[in-house]
Point group: C2
Chain length 213, copies 2
């Protein structure tokens, strides 16, 4: 399935809102963001895409993309053309189920982001985002000890948490000052994840949505 290997540099749009979906991409390495913009330039990152996840299965049955996908780091991905993807799905029921399942988990993540943006304070939002990143990177082996690389700019983090860059910066300092995180040289270290989860009002269950049976 890993034919069609492709690379992209950091800061590129892989696909934009309004584009038709003619292929499905599976990310092999790198971080991407799904984002939407308003006419006047306000921008919201609505989710991250990490290695092992698909880019566009999310709009596969729909006419066009409702959001854009940008690389936040250099990225390697595998591209599967629509026709081939469709025949894969048709020939393998469990594969189709796996993709549906990925969509459902993503939906759950999206809901958690809604309460993050709507009801958590700045500090809680950033703490929560870091907890989520840890929990999502761990199963794909991208957490070493209690650290991971944090390759994105503060602007990206601000757009993901619905904050201004200035306030995001101050919130990071607060998290550092309280010892909840260490962040230097593009490396995020969380020495006490459960303390950070407490600060984030992290719900223990939303990512543990392993498939039934």
């Amino acid at each position: 399935m890993l034919e069609g290997m492709q690379r992209a540099g950091a800061g590129e749009d892989l696909i934009s809102e309004g584009d038709p979906v003619d292929s499905v991409r599976i990310v092999l390495s790198g971080w991407l963001s799904r984002y939407k913009t308003l006419e006047d330039g306000r921008r919201q990152i609505v989710n991250f895409v990490f290695p092992g996840e698909t880019c566009d299965a999310h709009a596969f049955l729909l006419s066009v993309m409702d959001h854009s996908i940008a690389t936040m780091t250099p990225v390697v991905y595998s591209e599967i053309k629509r026709a081939r993807f469709e025949s894969l799905l048709a020939s393998d029921r469990s594969l189709a189920e796996a993709f549906w399942c990925e969509t459902l988990v993503n939906n759950a993540i999206q809901r958690e982001w809604a309460i993050n943006l709507g009801r958590r304070t700045a500090l809680e939002r950033v703490a929560h985002l870091f907890c989520e990143i840890f929990e999502r990177l761990r199963p794909v082996g991208l957490i070493e000890g209690n650290s991971c690389i944090m390759p994105v700019t503060q602007m990206d983090l601000a757009d993901a948490t619905g904050l201004s860059v200035v306030h995001l910066n101050r919130t990071l300092q607060e998290l550092r000052a309280t010892g909840l995180i260490a962040l230097r040289e593009r490396t995020l270290t969380i020495s006490d994840l459960s303390a950070l989860k407490d600060a984030a009002l992290y719900s223990p269950s939303y990512l543990q949505l392993y498939r039934r049976g």
Copy 2:
């Protein structure tokens, strides 16, 4: 498919965060909300469920619900047990595709809610919510002329837009004062939908995600 007809009064939880999903419900009439809460009581409605939509297909393949579903009005729905639903899906490919498609559209709505909560002002948020309600109720015949019933409390609207009740109330007044909406006796009237969409920075495309082909 419409066996197992059920009724529920307003203000009931049909299913709660953490519950296993043993059946799938299809709403025939009434409004419901998907919501999540934080330990300290803060509450965010993450989406509405309208007639014609399913309740729990969203967590069907997952172990347990990541959110709760509450009725905001009296509701009539049809309930299909898990085993029966699975056999329906297995026997009819296009049905399975339809459910996947519903999940994808819901995902797109969820993303729009993220930018609503993260980047729109209070006025834009409320205006946007009303536009979305109109566009979602129209295809199921629940818009009469330029009006629909608005059966929910201001508290619900506040929880859906991430605002306090007080500020939501003031925002409604502002929308009324500018003539963008009329809201009395549980009836919402939008005389100029495109004007309201302008005020909401409404993206024209996110709900027009009709299926391909």
